[in-house]
Symmetry: C2
Subunit: 95 residues, 2 copies
Amino acid sequence: MILELVTMSVKPELKAEFEETYRQASPLMSRARGNLGHELKRCVETDGRYILLIKWATIEDHLQGFRGSPDHAEWQRRMHPFYAAKSFIEHYEAV
Amino acid sequence: MILELVTMSVKPELKAEFEETYRQASPLMSRARGNLGHELKRCVETDGRYILLIKWATIEDHLQGFRGSPDHAEWQRRMHPFYAAKSFIEHYEAV
């Protein structure tokens, strides 16, 4: 299992709308092959900062499967208006 | 539930020893009041980078409970030799 960690900076005045859009767009990610769940979390210390934790069966399910899919393009199209900066993406493996 | 996200930079030549020390020190964290589990993850992209994901019942269980405890001091004492830089700590809440 691979954990994708996405760190996002969202325009503070659009937080509520961002969270609602995330909920509506979630099936795009849930139905991707190898997706084992995802969770959005809001930072306590920094206004507008969020992390998205996504579990994938393999790193290829993310980088080659989901990223090349029309669902990913649609996800990006819906989420992009809310970002105040480029998101930061890393992958983590179990220790 | 509050998620504590700790981003750590470990001296690459000490990774194996760090991971073993983490395993041995884990009970110090597990037995803290309000600790609901913790996981160490190794970054795929950046050598020596780790995240520690710690679930707390409340943020006070971390900031006032664990942080002020002798177990926290012991945790720090065991982990500190492996760090290449200061760790970065944030808290996240469910959306």
